[in-house]
Protein backbone atom coordinates (compact mmCIF):
# COMPACT_ATOMS: atom_id res chain seq x y z
CA UNK A 1 0.00 0.00 0.00
CA UNK A 2 2.62 2.40 1.03
CA UNK A 3 4.58 1.60 -2.00
CA UNK A 4 1.54 2.21 -4.12
CA UNK A 5 0.87 5.45 -2.30
CA UNK A 6 4.40 6.58 -2.80
CA UNK A 7 4.21 5.67 -6.39
CA UNK A 8 1.01 7.56 -6.74
CA UNK A 9 2.45 10.59 -4.99
CA UNK A 10 5.56 10.61 -7.07
CA UNK A 11 3.57 10.17 -10.23
CA UNK A 12 1.30 12.99 -9.12
CA UNK A 13 4.35 15.08 -8.47
CA UNK A 14 5.70 14.23 -11.84
CA UNK A 15 2.41 14.97 -13.37
CA UNK A 16 2.39 18.35 -11.73
CA UNK A 17 5.83 19.08 -12.98
CA UNK A 18 4.93 17.96 -16.43
CA UNK A 19 1.79 20.01 -16.35
CA UNK A 20 3.72 23.05 -15.26
CA UNK A 21 6.24 22.49 -17.95
CA UNK A 22 3.72 22.07 -20.73
CA UNK A 23 1.86 25.10 -19.47
CA UNK A 24 5.06 27.08 -19.49
CA UNK A 25 6.02 25.98 -22.97
CA UNK A 26 2.63 26.85 -24.35
CA UNK A 27 2.75 30.22 -22.66
CA UNK A 28 6.04 30.88 -24.40
CA UNK A 29 4.18 31.29 -27.62
CA UNK A 30 2.45 34.34 -26.29
CA UNK A 31 5.47 35.77 -24.50
CA UNK A 32 7.88 37.76 -26.61
CA UNK A 33 11.29 37.91 -24.99
CA UNK A 34 13.41 41.01 -25.44
CA UNK A 35 16.04 39.05 -27.28
CA UNK A 36 14.71 38.58 -30.80
CA UNK A 37 14.11 35.14 -32.22
CA UNK A 38 16.21 35.72 -35.34
CA UNK A 39 19.30 36.49 -33.30
CA UNK A 40 18.91 33.41 -31.13
CA UNK A 41 18.24 31.24 -34.14
CA UNK A 42 21.34 32.59 -35.89
CA UNK A 43 23.66 31.84 -32.99
CA UNK A 44 22.11 28.47 -32.23
CA UNK A 45 22.61 27.48 -35.85
CA UNK A 46 26.21 28.70 -35.60
CA UNK A 47 26.87 26.52 -32.58
CA UNK A 48 25.38 23.45 -34.20
CA UNK A 49 21.98 23.16 -32.61
CA UNK A 50 19.89 21.91 -35.48
CA UNK A 51 16.44 23.32 -35.78
CA UNK A 52 13.91 22.67 -38.48
CA UNK A 53 12.72 25.59 -40.52
CA UNK A 54 11.06 28.13 -38.28
CA UNK A 55 9.31 29.77 -41.16
CA UNK A 56 6.97 26.81 -41.34
CA UNK A 57 5.63 27.98 -37.97
CA UNK A 58 6.61 24.78 -36.32
CA UNK A 59 5.40 25.02 -32.76
CA UNK A 60 8.07 22.79 -31.33
CA UNK A 61 10.90 24.71 -32.87
CA UNK A 62 9.46 27.98 -31.69
CA UNK A 63 9.42 26.59 -28.21
CA UNK A 64 13.08 25.77 -28.28
CA UNK A 65 14.14 29.14 -29.60
CA UNK A 66 11.92 31.01 -27.20
CA UNK A 67 13.19 28.90 -24.36
CA UNK A 68 16.78 29.79 -25.09
CA UNK A 69 15.81 33.43 -25.51
CA UNK A 70 14.09 33.52 -22.14
CA UNK A 71 16.99 31.76 -20.48
CA UNK A 72 19.49 34.26 -21.93
CA UNK A 73 17.29 37.15 -20.90
CA UNK A 74 17.16 35.80 -17.37
CA UNK A 75 20.94 35.44 -17.30
CA UNK A 76 21.56 38.98 -18.55
CA UNK A 77 18.99 40.38 -16.16
CA UNK A 78 20.67 38.64 -13.24
CA UNK A 79 24.07 40.00 -14.19
CA UNK A 80 22.64 43.47 -14.65
CA UNK A 81 20.90 43.32 -11.29
CA UNK A 82 24.14 42.38 -9.56
CA UNK A 83 25.95 45.21 -11.33
CA UNK A 84 23.21 47.59 -10.30
CA UNK A 85 23.57 46.55 -6.70
CA UNK A 86 27.31 47.17 -6.90
CA UNK A 87 26.71 50.59 -8.41
CA UNK A 88 24.18 51.53 -5.75
CA UNK A 89 26.48 50.31 -2.98
CA UNK A 90 29.30 52.49 -4.34
CA UNK A 91 27.07 55.52 -4.56
CA UNK A 92 25.75 54.93 -1.05
CA UNK A 93 29.32 54.77 0.26
CA UNK A 94 30.14 58.10 -1.34
CA UNK A 95 27.04 59.75 0.00
CA UNK A 96 27.79 58.41 3.44
CA UNK A 97 31.09 60.29 3.55
CA UNK A 98 29.76 63.65 2.50
CA UNK A 99 26.30 64.14 3.86
CA UNK A 100 26.46 67.89 3.40
CA UNK A 101 26.28 67.63 -0.33
CA UNK A 102 23.15 66.55 -2.04
CA UNK A 103 22.93 63.16 -3.51
CA UNK A 104 25.63 63.15 -6.08
CA UNK A 105 24.87 61.49 -9.32
CA UNK A 106 21.41 60.06 -9.40
CA UNK A 107 22.13 58.51 -12.75
CA UNK A 108 22.98 54.85 -12.64
CA UNK A 109 25.74 54.05 -15.07
CA UNK A 110 26.75 50.57 -16.12
CA UNK A 111 30.52 50.71 -15.72
CA UNK A 112 33.20 48.15 -16.41
CA UNK A 113 34.12 47.96 -12.75
CA UNK A 114 30.65 46.97 -11.61
CA UNK A 115 30.24 44.61 -14.52
CA UNK A 116 33.52 42.81 -13.86
CA UNK A 117 32.65 42.41 -10.18
CA UNK A 118 29.22 41.04 -11.01
CA UNK A 119 30.51 38.67 -13.66
CA UNK A 120 33.22 37.27 -11.41
CA UNK A 121 30.56 35.36 -9.50
CA UNK A 122 29.39 33.76 -12.70
CA UNK A 123 32.88 32.56 -13.52
CA UNK A 124 33.56 35.13 -16.21
CA UNK A 125 36.81 37.05 -15.77
CA UNK A 126 36.55 40.44 -17.41
CA UNK A 127 39.72 42.49 -17.19
CA UNK A 128 39.66 46.03 -18.48
CA UNK A 129 42.58 48.17 -19.62
CA UNK A 130 43.19 51.03 -17.25
CA UNK A 131 44.22 53.41 -20.02
CA UNK A 132 45.65 53.47 -23.49
CA UNK A 133 48.78 55.42 -24.40
CA UNK A 134 49.47 57.25 -27.64
CA UNK A 135 53.02 55.99 -28.11
CA UNK A 136 55.43 53.71 -26.27
CA UNK A 137 57.24 56.53 -24.46
CA UNK A 138 54.19 58.05 -22.79
CA UNK A 139 54.56 58.49 -19.09
CA UNK A 140 58.25 57.66 -19.03
CA UNK A 141 60.98 59.84 -17.48
CA UNK A 142 62.20 62.62 -19.76
CA UNK A 143 65.76 61.30 -19.46
CA UNK A 144 64.84 57.90 -20.78
CA UNK A 145 62.62 59.57 -23.38
CA UNK A 146 65.61 61.32 -24.92
CA UNK A 147 67.37 58.04 -25.36
Amino acid sequence: MNHNNNFQQSSDGRHDDDAALTEFLSSLMGYTPTIPDELVEHYLAKSGFQCPDVRLNCCLCFCRIRLVAVATQKFVAEVATDALQQCKARQAAVVKDKRDKQQKDKRLILTMEDLSKALREYGVNVKHQEYFADNPSTGMDPASKEE
Binding site: L44, Q73, L84
Partner: protein, 361 residues
Protein backbone atom coordinates in the same frame (compact mmCIF):
# COMPACT_ATOMS: atom_id res chain seq x y z
CA UNK B 1 19.81 55.95 -23.49
CA UNK B 2 23.03 57.86 -23.81
CA UNK B 3 26.59 56.79 -23.27
CA UNK B 4 28.22 57.42 -19.91
CA UNK B 5 31.34 59.54 -20.06
CA UNK B 6 33.28 57.74 -17.42
CA UNK B 7 35.90 56.15 -19.63
CA UNK B 8 38.51 58.84 -20.10
CA UNK B 9 38.87 62.36 -18.82
CA UNK B 10 40.47 63.92 -21.89
CA UNK B 11 38.64 63.97 -25.14
CA UNK B 12 40.97 63.05 -27.94
CA UNK B 13 39.91 62.65 -31.49
CA UNK B 14 39.82 59.15 -32.73
CA UNK B 15 41.97 58.59 -35.79
CA UNK B 16 40.08 58.42 -39.04
CA UNK B 17 40.78 54.79 -39.80
CA UNK B 18 38.70 52.94 -42.30
CA UNK B 19 36.44 50.71 -40.28
CA UNK B 20 36.38 47.12 -41.45
CA UNK B 21 32.99 45.49 -41.22
CA UNK B 22 33.04 41.82 -40.42
CA UNK B 23 30.20 39.45 -41.07
CA UNK B 24 29.19 39.35 -37.43
CA UNK B 25 28.69 43.07 -36.96
CA UNK B 26 24.98 43.05 -37.67
CA UNK B 27 24.14 40.40 -35.10
CA UNK B 28 26.48 41.98 -32.56
CA UNK B 29 24.69 45.29 -32.96
CA UNK B 30 21.31 43.65 -32.47
CA UNK B 31 22.59 41.91 -29.36
CA UNK B 32 23.78 45.26 -27.99
CA UNK B 33 20.35 46.79 -28.46
CA UNK B 34 18.61 43.84 -26.83
CA UNK B 35 20.97 43.81 -23.85
CA UNK B 36 20.57 47.55 -23.45
CA UNK B 37 16.81 47.14 -23.32
CA UNK B 38 17.12 44.47 -20.65
CA UNK B 39 19.45 46.63 -18.58
CA UNK B 40 17.13 49.57 -18.87
CA UNK B 41 14.30 47.50 -17.49
CA UNK B 42 16.52 46.37 -14.62
CA UNK B 43 17.14 49.98 -13.67
CA UNK B 44 20.19 51.38 -15.43
CA UNK B 45 19.90 54.75 -17.09
CA UNK B 46 23.17 55.06 -18.96
CA UNK B 47 25.92 52.73 -20.08
CA UNK B 48 29.58 52.79 -20.83
CA UNK B 49 30.19 51.79 -24.41
CA UNK B 50 32.73 49.18 -23.55
CA UNK B 51 30.65 47.73 -20.73
CA UNK B 52 27.62 47.38 -22.98
CA UNK B 53 29.70 45.77 -25.67
CA UNK B 54 31.17 43.33 -23.19
CA UNK B 55 27.79 42.35 -21.79
CA UNK B 56 26.38 41.86 -25.26
CA UNK B 57 29.35 39.71 -26.18
CA UNK B 58 28.81 37.60 -23.07
CA UNK B 59 25.13 37.17 -23.86
CA UNK B 60 26.04 35.97 -27.34
CA UNK B 61 28.55 33.54 -25.87
CA UNK B 62 25.88 32.29 -23.50
CA UNK B 63 23.57 31.51 -26.40
CA UNK B 64 26.43 29.78 -28.16
CA UNK B 65 27.30 27.62 -25.17
CA UNK B 66 23.66 26.66 -24.57
CA UNK B 67 23.39 25.59 -28.18
CA UNK B 68 26.64 23.65 -28.01
CA UNK B 69 25.68 21.82 -24.84
CA UNK B 70 22.19 21.06 -26.11
CA UNK B 71 23.58 19.68 -29.34
CA UNK B 72 26.03 17.58 -27.39
CA UNK B 73 23.30 16.03 -25.29
CA UNK B 74 21.17 15.39 -28.35
CA UNK B 75 24.05 13.62 -30.07
CA UNK B 76 24.73 11.68 -26.90
CA UNK B 77 21.18 10.41 -27.01
CA UNK B 78 21.61 9.39 -30.60
CA UNK B 79 19.61 12.21 -32.15
CA UNK B 80 20.60 14.80 -34.73
CA UNK B 81 17.97 17.34 -33.74
CA UNK B 82 17.88 18.78 -30.27
CA UNK B 83 14.72 19.09 -28.24
CA UNK B 84 13.55 20.95 -25.18
CA UNK B 85 15.06 18.53 -22.72
CA UNK B 86 18.45 18.84 -24.30
CA UNK B 87 18.20 22.57 -23.79
CA UNK B 88 17.28 22.02 -20.16
CA UNK B 89 20.31 19.87 -19.67
CA UNK B 90 22.49 22.48 -21.34
CA UNK B 91 21.09 25.14 -19.06
CA UNK B 92 21.78 22.98 -16.07
CA UNK B 93 25.39 22.63 -17.12
CA UNK B 94 25.79 26.37 -17.39
CA UNK B 95 23.92 27.03 -14.18
CA UNK B 96 26.15 24.82 -12.08
CA UNK B 97 28.42 27.78 -11.33
CA UNK B 98 25.66 29.69 -9.63
CA UNK B 99 23.92 26.66 -8.31
CA UNK B 100 20.25 25.78 -8.30
CA UNK B 101 18.04 23.70 -6.09
CA UNK B 102 18.37 20.02 -6.75
CA UNK B 103 21.73 20.28 -8.46
CA UNK B 104 23.29 17.56 -6.39
CA UNK B 105 20.52 15.12 -7.27
CA UNK B 106 21.85 13.42 -10.38
CA UNK B 107 18.87 11.24 -11.00
CA UNK B 108 16.24 13.89 -10.87
CA UNK B 109 13.71 14.36 -13.58
CA UNK B 110 14.44 17.21 -15.82
CA UNK B 111 10.97 18.62 -15.69
CA UNK B 112 11.30 19.19 -11.97
CA UNK B 113 14.79 20.64 -11.95
CA UNK B 114 15.45 23.89 -10.18
CA UNK B 115 16.44 25.58 -13.40
CA UNK B 116 13.08 24.98 -14.98
CA UNK B 117 11.30 26.27 -11.93
CA UNK B 118 13.37 29.41 -11.81
CA UNK B 119 12.76 29.95 -15.48
CA UNK B 120 9.03 29.58 -15.08
CA UNK B 121 9.12 31.97 -12.18
CA UNK B 122 11.07 34.54 -14.14
CA UNK B 123 8.77 34.30 -17.16
CA UNK B 124 5.74 34.82 -14.99
CA UNK B 125 7.14 37.80 -13.16
CA UNK B 126 8.91 39.65 -15.94
CA UNK B 127 6.94 42.11 -17.98
CA UNK B 128 6.82 41.72 -21.68
CA UNK B 129 9.26 44.09 -23.37
CA UNK B 130 9.59 43.21 -27.04
CA UNK B 131 12.61 44.06 -29.10
CA UNK B 132 12.75 47.63 -30.36
CA UNK B 133 13.21 46.91 -34.06
CA UNK B 134 11.75 44.53 -36.58
CA UNK B 135 14.51 42.29 -37.84
CA UNK B 136 14.50 40.41 -41.10
CA UNK B 137 15.49 36.82 -41.17
CA UNK B 138 19.26 36.67 -41.39
CA UNK B 139 21.74 35.71 -42.67
CA UNK B 140 20.31 36.37 -46.09
CA UNK B 141 21.34 33.79 -48.63
CA UNK B 142 21.67 35.17 -52.13
CA UNK B 143 19.91 33.19 -54.82
CA UNK B 144 22.47 32.06 -57.31
CA UNK B 145 21.31 32.18 -60.87
CA UNK B 146 22.84 29.16 -62.61
CA UNK B 147 24.38 29.74 -66.00
CA UNK B 148 22.31 28.50 -68.88
CA UNK B 149 23.53 25.43 -70.67
CA UNK B 150 23.99 24.89 -74.36
CA UNK B 151 20.66 23.12 -74.52
CA UNK B 152 18.83 25.99 -72.89
CA UNK B 153 20.31 28.55 -75.24
CA UNK B 154 19.77 26.40 -78.26
CA UNK B 155 23.36 26.53 -79.41
CA UNK B 156 25.51 23.67 -80.43
CA UNK B 157 28.76 23.31 -78.53
CA UNK B 158 31.72 24.36 -80.73
CA UNK B 159 33.68 21.16 -80.14
CA UNK B 160 32.11 17.75 -80.49
CA UNK B 161 33.43 16.44 -77.20
CA UNK B 162 31.62 19.03 -75.09
CA UNK B 163 28.22 17.71 -73.95
CA UNK B 164 25.26 20.00 -74.50
CA UNK B 165 24.08 20.03 -70.89
CA UNK B 166 27.16 21.96 -69.74
CA UNK B 167 26.92 25.75 -69.33
CA UNK B 168 27.54 27.69 -72.50
CA UNK B 169 30.71 29.63 -73.28
CA UNK B 170 30.62 33.39 -72.65
CA UNK B 171 30.21 35.82 -75.55
CA UNK B 172 33.40 36.24 -77.60
CA UNK B 173 33.04 40.01 -77.24
CA UNK B 174 33.88 39.69 -73.58
CA UNK B 175 37.36 38.36 -74.19
CA UNK B 176 38.39 39.37 -77.73
CA UNK B 177 40.21 42.68 -78.27
CA UNK B 178 38.32 45.02 -80.52
CA UNK B 179 40.28 47.22 -83.00
CA UNK B 180 38.87 50.46 -81.59
CA UNK B 181 40.53 49.76 -78.26
CA UNK B 182 43.99 49.56 -79.88
CA UNK B 183 43.59 52.90 -81.60
CA UNK B 184 42.69 54.49 -78.35
CA UNK B 185 45.80 53.03 -76.74
CA UNK B 186 48.11 54.29 -79.49
CA UNK B 187 46.53 57.73 -79.32
CA UNK B 188 47.39 58.01 -75.65
CA UNK B 189 50.96 56.99 -76.44
CA UNK B 190 51.44 59.70 -79.05
CA UNK B 191 49.83 62.18 -76.68
CA UNK B 192 52.37 61.31 -74.03
CA UNK B 193 55.25 61.82 -76.47
CA UNK B 194 53.95 65.23 -77.47
CA UNK B 195 53.57 66.21 -73.85
CA UNK B 196 57.15 65.19 -73.21
CA UNK B 197 58.38 67.27 -76.15
CA UNK B 198 56.53 70.30 -74.90
CA UNK B 199 57.98 69.89 -71.45
CA UNK B 200 61.50 69.68 -72.81
CA UNK B 201 60.95 72.78 -74.91
CA UNK B 202 59.87 74.62 -71.80
CA UNK B 203 62.96 73.46 -69.93
CA UNK B 204 65.29 74.62 -72.69
CA UNK B 205 63.66 78.01 -72.82
CA UNK B 206 64.11 78.36 -69.04
CA UNK B 207 67.80 77.57 -69.37
CA UNK B 208 68.17 80.14 -72.13
CA UNK B 209 66.53 82.74 -69.93
CA UNK B 210 69.08 82.04 -67.21
CA UNK B 211 71.93 82.47 -69.61
CA UNK B 212 70.55 85.70 -70.93
CA UNK B 213 70.28 87.08 -67.42
CA UNK B 214 73.96 86.37 -66.82
CA UNK B 215 74.64 88.63 -69.83
CA UNK B 216 78.40 88.52 -69.79
CA UNK B 217 80.71 86.03 -71.27
CA UNK B 218 81.40 85.25 -74.82
CA UNK B 219 78.45 85.53 -77.08
CA UNK B 220 79.61 82.31 -78.62
CA UNK B 221 78.13 80.62 -75.60
CA UNK B 222 74.64 81.83 -76.49
CA UNK B 223 75.03 81.04 -80.15
CA UNK B 224 76.37 77.66 -79.39
CA UNK B 225 73.40 76.93 -77.22
CA UNK B 226 70.88 77.97 -79.85
CA UNK B 227 72.48 75.67 -82.36
CA UNK B 228 72.41 72.87 -79.85
CA UNK B 229 68.80 73.63 -79.07
CA UNK B 230 67.92 73.01 -82.68
CA UNK B 231 69.74 69.76 -82.51
CA UNK B 232 67.78 68.64 -79.46
CA UNK B 233 64.45 69.38 -81.09
CA UNK B 234 65.34 67.43 -84.16
CA UNK B 235 66.85 64.41 -82.52
CA UNK B 236 65.38 63.51 -79.16
CA UNK B 237 67.71 60.92 -77.63
CA UNK B 238 64.86 59.36 -75.68
CA UNK B 239 62.95 58.58 -78.83
CA UNK B 240 65.85 57.31 -80.87
CA UNK B 241 66.41 53.64 -81.39
CA UNK B 242 68.27 51.89 -78.60
CA UNK B 243 72.03 51.59 -79.07
CA UNK B 244 73.76 48.30 -79.27
CA UNK B 245 76.71 47.44 -77.10
CA UNK B 246 79.95 49.23 -78.01
CA UNK B 247 78.25 51.44 -80.57
CA UNK B 248 78.97 54.45 -78.39
CA UNK B 249 81.95 55.12 -76.21
CA UNK B 250 80.91 55.58 -72.64
CA UNK B 251 83.08 58.01 -70.73
CA UNK B 252 84.71 57.20 -67.43
CA UNK B 253 83.64 58.96 -64.26
CA UNK B 254 84.58 62.63 -64.35
CA UNK B 255 85.12 64.94 -61.44
CA UNK B 256 82.23 67.32 -61.00
CA UNK B 257 82.83 70.39 -63.14
CA UNK B 258 82.66 72.75 -60.17
CA UNK B 259 85.63 71.16 -58.40
CA UNK B 260 87.71 70.93 -61.54
CA UNK B 261 87.09 74.58 -62.37
CA UNK B 262 88.23 75.72 -58.94
CA UNK B 263 91.48 73.81 -59.10
CA UNK B 264 92.21 75.03 -62.60
CA UNK B 265 91.63 78.64 -61.62
CA UNK B 266 93.70 78.53 -58.42
CA UNK B 267 97.01 79.11 -60.17
CA UNK B 268 96.14 81.62 -62.90
CA UNK B 269 95.57 85.29 -62.29
CA UNK B 270 93.62 86.19 -59.18
CA UNK B 271 92.27 89.39 -60.60
CA UNK B 272 89.52 87.44 -62.31
CA UNK B 273 87.77 86.86 -59.01
CA UNK B 274 88.18 90.39 -57.70
CA UNK B 275 85.82 92.79 -59.42
CA UNK B 276 83.94 91.27 -62.24
CA UNK B 277 80.69 89.82 -60.92
CA UNK B 278 79.50 88.61 -64.25
CA UNK B 279 82.33 86.21 -64.63
CA UNK B 280 81.68 84.67 -61.24
CA UNK B 281 78.04 84.28 -62.13
CA UNK B 282 79.02 82.61 -65.35
CA UNK B 283 81.30 80.35 -63.42
CA UNK B 284 78.53 79.34 -61.11
CA UNK B 285 76.20 78.66 -64.03
CA UNK B 286 78.85 77.08 -66.18
CA UNK B 287 78.80 73.70 -64.49
CA UNK B 288 75.03 73.51 -64.81
CA UNK B 289 75.23 74.55 -68.43
CA UNK B 290 77.93 72.04 -69.08
CA UNK B 291 75.88 69.37 -67.44
CA UNK B 292 72.98 70.21 -69.71
CA UNK B 293 75.31 70.16 -72.70
CA UNK B 294 76.63 66.79 -71.68
CA UNK B 295 73.12 65.44 -71.58
CA UNK B 296 71.78 66.77 -74.86
CA UNK B 297 74.92 67.07 -76.99
CA UNK B 298 75.68 64.14 -79.18
CA UNK B 299 79.17 65.05 -80.36
CA UNK B 300 81.65 63.38 -78.07
CA UNK B 301 84.69 65.36 -79.27
CA UNK B 302 83.63 68.60 -77.66
CA UNK B 303 83.13 66.82 -74.38
CA UNK B 304 86.53 65.24 -74.60
CA UNK B 305 88.10 68.62 -75.24
CA UNK B 306 86.43 70.08 -72.23
CA UNK B 307 87.55 67.21 -70.09
CA UNK B 308 91.16 67.48 -71.21
CA UNK B 309 91.23 71.20 -70.57
CA UNK B 310 89.89 70.88 -67.10
CA UNK B 311 91.64 67.77 -65.92
CA UNK B 312 93.13 68.69 -62.56
CA UNK B 313 96.81 68.19 -61.75
CA UNK B 314 95.99 66.57 -58.39
CA UNK B 315 93.65 63.61 -58.27
CA UNK B 316 91.50 62.72 -55.28
CA UNK B 317 94.24 63.07 -52.70
CA UNK B 318 93.87 66.76 -52.13
CA UNK B 319 93.77 66.56 -48.35
CA UNK B 320 96.45 63.93 -48.07
CA UNK B 321 98.66 65.68 -50.61
CA UNK B 322 98.71 68.91 -48.63
CA UNK B 323 99.74 67.12 -45.49
CA UNK B 324 102.52 65.28 -47.23
CA UNK B 325 103.88 68.50 -48.69
CA UNK B 326 103.95 70.16 -45.28
CA UNK B 327 105.51 67.40 -43.21
CA UNK B 328 108.96 66.88 -44.82
CA UNK B 329 109.71 70.60 -44.33
CA UNK B 330 109.20 70.27 -40.61
CA UNK B 331 110.61 66.91 -39.81
CA UNK B 332 113.78 66.88 -41.92
CA UNK B 333 115.91 69.17 -39.74
CA UNK B 334 114.78 67.44 -36.54
CA UNK B 335 114.78 63.80 -37.48
CA UNK B 336 113.36 62.84 -34.08
CA UNK B 337 111.85 59.55 -35.04
CA UNK B 338 114.39 57.33 -36.68
CA UNK B 339 112.17 55.83 -39.20
CA UNK B 340 110.61 58.95 -40.66
CA UNK B 341 112.75 59.91 -43.59
CA UNK B 342 110.12 60.42 -46.17
CA UNK B 343 106.67 60.51 -44.65
CA UNK B 344 105.14 60.69 -48.10
CA UNK B 345 106.27 57.20 -48.90
CA UNK B 346 105.61 56.05 -45.39
CA UNK B 347 102.02 57.08 -45.62
CA UNK B 348 101.68 55.16 -48.81
CA UNK B 349 103.22 52.17 -47.12
CA UNK B 350 100.79 52.52 -44.29
CA UNK B 351 97.96 52.60 -46.73
CA UNK B 352 99.36 49.51 -48.38
CA UNK B 353 99.68 47.83 -45.04
CA UNK B 354 96.10 48.67 -44.28
CA UNK B 355 95.10 47.38 -47.64
CA UNK B 356 97.19 44.33 -46.99
CA UNK B 357 95.41 43.81 -43.72
CA UNK B 358 92.15 44.05 -45.49
CA UNK B 359 93.28 41.54 -48.06
CA UNK B 360 94.44 39.07 -45.42
CA UNK B 361 91.20 39.51 -43.60
Amino acid sequence: MSDGGGESGSKHQQPHTKRKFSGDDFSQAIAKVAVAQICERVGFQTFQQSALGKLADIAVRYINSVGKAANFYANLSGRAEGNVFDIFQGLEDLGLDQGFSGASDINHCLASSGIVRELIQYANEATDVPFAYAIPHFPVVKDRKPKSSFLQIGEEPPIEDIPAWLPAFPDPQTYFESPSQNERASDSYTEKIELGKQQRKMEMSMVNLQRQFSESGPSSFVHGDSSKEKKTVESNPFLSAPLHFEEKEVSSVVLPAKLSKEVALQNPVAKKHVVDNHISVMETFAPALEAMKNRFCESREEQKNIQLDQRPPVQFKIGVGKKSLVKPLKSSPQNMDGGKIDPWFCKENENDERKGDLKIF
